[in-house]
């Protein structure tokens, strides 16, 4: 699809348009961003104002000043004196703790929002939602008998069945262990790809947003420090000071090109080139989303010889950004993908790296979206 074809499309609906200031004691939230993503992640360390922001969107809090639009409907505009109360916003909210009603069973909890939705606006299909979330067998249970993961799935289902215009999720998986999280991720994937409710996910985990987000808003100390497409934001380690160079990196979409069964390897085709990784249990042609972490990229001026790494992507330096400490982030264009390498200032000067220089990126390891929590190492034998 080329650029001109896109321009003729109907303009996409702006899902979130936020510009607000809120004072709470010594803390000030001053946030301004737009998003049209199917899943917008609000990312930031604790205390950065993520929850305050979603509470303002959900109507649990009245911002001191500002404007909030969801799908181009004004929910808050302090200048015009508009404040739509939470029960009229049609915004689903999945809380950190599931907040299921203890006096209602799972079925009644799921139906709760439906009681308050006008009949003609009831679109979400009860059976489809319970199937999608894998909770159809829990309908007659009481909330107190459910596991943490089951509770959260019921809470997501309850919010979806109220036919929201937008689904807010405030670290819905924070209280769960890795195993339970892994149990819920696929359901959120499916909601993002198959459902028709855009989502906002609060998270402080880079692997989590790398796996789930299509757009990212980075919050730091009450301010938006970056926002945009997930692939653009994740490239820049400096947006993730607390995760640092460890986790940030480029998001690259690829497809399975072929399997090399004899070596137990899989070859992936990305715009940047081919990458060889350990055998993936996926059919040829299947899409994969992976992260090339900035600290896992080594730069070389000439195509390397005599080293064991299989993954070398040719590219051109398009940007060099100073970061705190001794490092710099070097952004490369490799085909239509861009990837980022973290190198020291000393290496940069020694290699004479400057914008426009052709370089080779040696990829030490690849992290996969499919299981972003574990890193599959690129083969280097």
């Amino acid at each position: 699809m080329d650029g001109t074809a896109r321009q003729t499309e109907v303009p996409r609906l702006m899902i979130l348009d936020v510009d607000l200031r809120h004072r709470q004691g010594a803390f000030t939230l001053d946030a301004r961003f737009q998003s049209e993503g199917r899943l917008t992640a609000l990312f930031g360390p604790s205390g950065s104002g993520k929850t305050t922001l979603v509470n303002a969107i959900g109507g649990l809090l009245r911002p001191t000043q500002g404007r909030i639009c969801v799908k181009e409907r004004v929910l808050v505009d302090t200048r015009q004196g508009i404040f739509v109360p939470k029960h009229r916003r049609r915004i689903g909210y999945v809380f950190q703790e599931a907040r299921l009603f203890p006096h209602l069973n799972v079925r009644q909890n799921l139906h709760f929002g439906r009681w308050f939705t006008p009949k003609r606006e009831r679109v979400a299909d009860f059976h489809a939602v319970t199937e999608l979330l894998g909770i159809a067998h829990l309908l007659d249970r009481w909330p107190s008998t459910l596991s943490g993961g089951e509770k959260q799935r019921v809470a997501i289902g309850r919010a979806l069945l109220s036919d929201p215009q937008l689904l807010l999720m405030d670290e819905p998986l924070a209280s769960l262990d890795e195993e339970r999280k892994a149990e819920i991720y696929p359901y959120i994937d499916r909601l993002r790809d198959e459902g028709d409710v855009p989502m906002v996910l609060v998270s402080h985990s880079v692997p989590e947003i790398a796996r789930l987000a299509t757009s990212i808003v980075v919050l730091n100390d009450g301010r938006v420090t970056a926002s945009g497409l997930a692939s653009d934001i994740l490239r820049h380690p400096r947006f993730f000071p607390q995760a640092g160079l460890v986790e940030a990196g480029a998001l690259v979409e690829a497809r399975v090109l072929r399997h090399e069964e004899a070596y137990g390897l899989t070859v992936l085709q990305a715009a940047a080139g081919t990458l060889t990784v350990s055998r993936l249990n996926l059919p040829v042609g299947a899409p994969v989303r992976m992260r090339l972490r900035a600290r896992d990229i080594i730069l070389s001026l000439a195509p390397p010889e005599g080293i064991s790494a299989l993954n070398v992507l040719p590219g051109t330096v398009v940007a060099i950004e100073e970061v705190e400490g001794s490092g710099v982030d070097v952004t490369l264009a490799c085909g239509s993908d861009s990837i980022v390498a973290s190198v020291t200032r000393k290496s940069m000067e020694r290699l004479g790296i400057k914008v426009g220089l052709p370089v080779q990126a040696i990829v030490k390891s690849v992290a996969f979206d499919r299981d972003a929590l574990g890193t599959v190492h690129a083969k280097n034998m």
Binding site: G58, G59, L60, P85, K86, H87, R88, R89, R90, I91, G92, Y93, F95, E97, R99, F101, P102, H103, F112, G113, W115, F116, T117, W142, S144, T145, R158, A159, S162
Partner: protein
């Protein structure tokens, strides 16, 4: 079967039950509203209202009865209004006894409901709001079911208080057999006359039995509610 109590004693028992039931059920809705206002309300004079509601708990019951006599007696401002406008007379009637019992039990009812209201997780109410429930609906489908155990406890306390109320009742509506002579007044009367010990003892037993039954019933109801929550 009924001969172990004299007809006068039966009358007192029936009257006591009637007065206590009417007092408790009539104060239920105002009790819930008052508990809600005191716990959640942010209005001027809330503290003064709190003190006023709790006064019957600390005042001598006779003083409450006397205040009722002044206010709701035939010549009192409220009493004359009720009598002229609605033909309702409270003084020296069983309805007056019910009023006295309701007021004496009111702080107990309000306190019990308020305590359980305090423990209701406001976050659940927020969640209900985001699901589209208007605040009034949130109260009826979330808050009210969650404070049900407190309401039951409050009603039992209020009922028990009404069964035992003596000072305010006798001051306000006197001790008229068949009209205002409840179990406590009847026991008091029995102890004042020679040979009344038997009647006093029998009524005391009835009193104990009713109290135990009420307690047992409330426990049973609270357990049923709790079992649903924590099954």
């Amino acid at each position: 079967m009924t001969d172990w109590l004299s007809p006068e004693e039966w009358t007192a028992v029936r009257l006591s039950l009637k007065v206590a039931l009417v007092a408790t059920s009539a104060s239920l809705l105002p009790g819930i509203a008052m508990a809600y206002a005191l716990e959640r309300g942010r209005f001027w004079g809330r503290q003064a209202l709190d003190v006023l509601v709790h006064l019957p708990l600390v005042l001598p019951p006779v003083v409450v009865g006397y205040a009722l006599l002044l206010g709701f007696g035939r010549r009192g401002p409220m009493g004359s209004l009720l009598a002229e406008q609605f033909g309702v007379v409270l003084s020296f009637r069983w309805t007056g006894a019910a009023l006295a019992c309701a007021i004496m039990g009111f702080p107990l009812l309000v306190r019990a409901i308020r305590l359980s209201l305090e423990t209701v997780d406001r976050k659940l109410e927020d969640a209900a709001g985001t699901l589209g429930a208007h605040p009034a609906w949130v109260f009826f489908v979330v808050t009210l079911p969650l404070i049900l155990p407190g309401i039951i406890a409050g009603m039992v306390l209020s009922f028990a208080k009404a069964m035992g109320e003596f000072g305010a009742t006798i001051t306000f509506v006197s001790n008229i057999p068949g009209e205002t002579q409840t179990i406590p007044s009847a026991i008091y009367t029995f102890t004042q006359v020679p040979g009344g010990e038997g009647g006093a003892l029998r009524l005391a037993f009835v009193s104990v039995a009713i109290s135990i039954a009420a307690l047992w019933m409330s426990e049973w109801m609270a357990r049923r509610v709790r079992r649903r929550f924590l099954a």
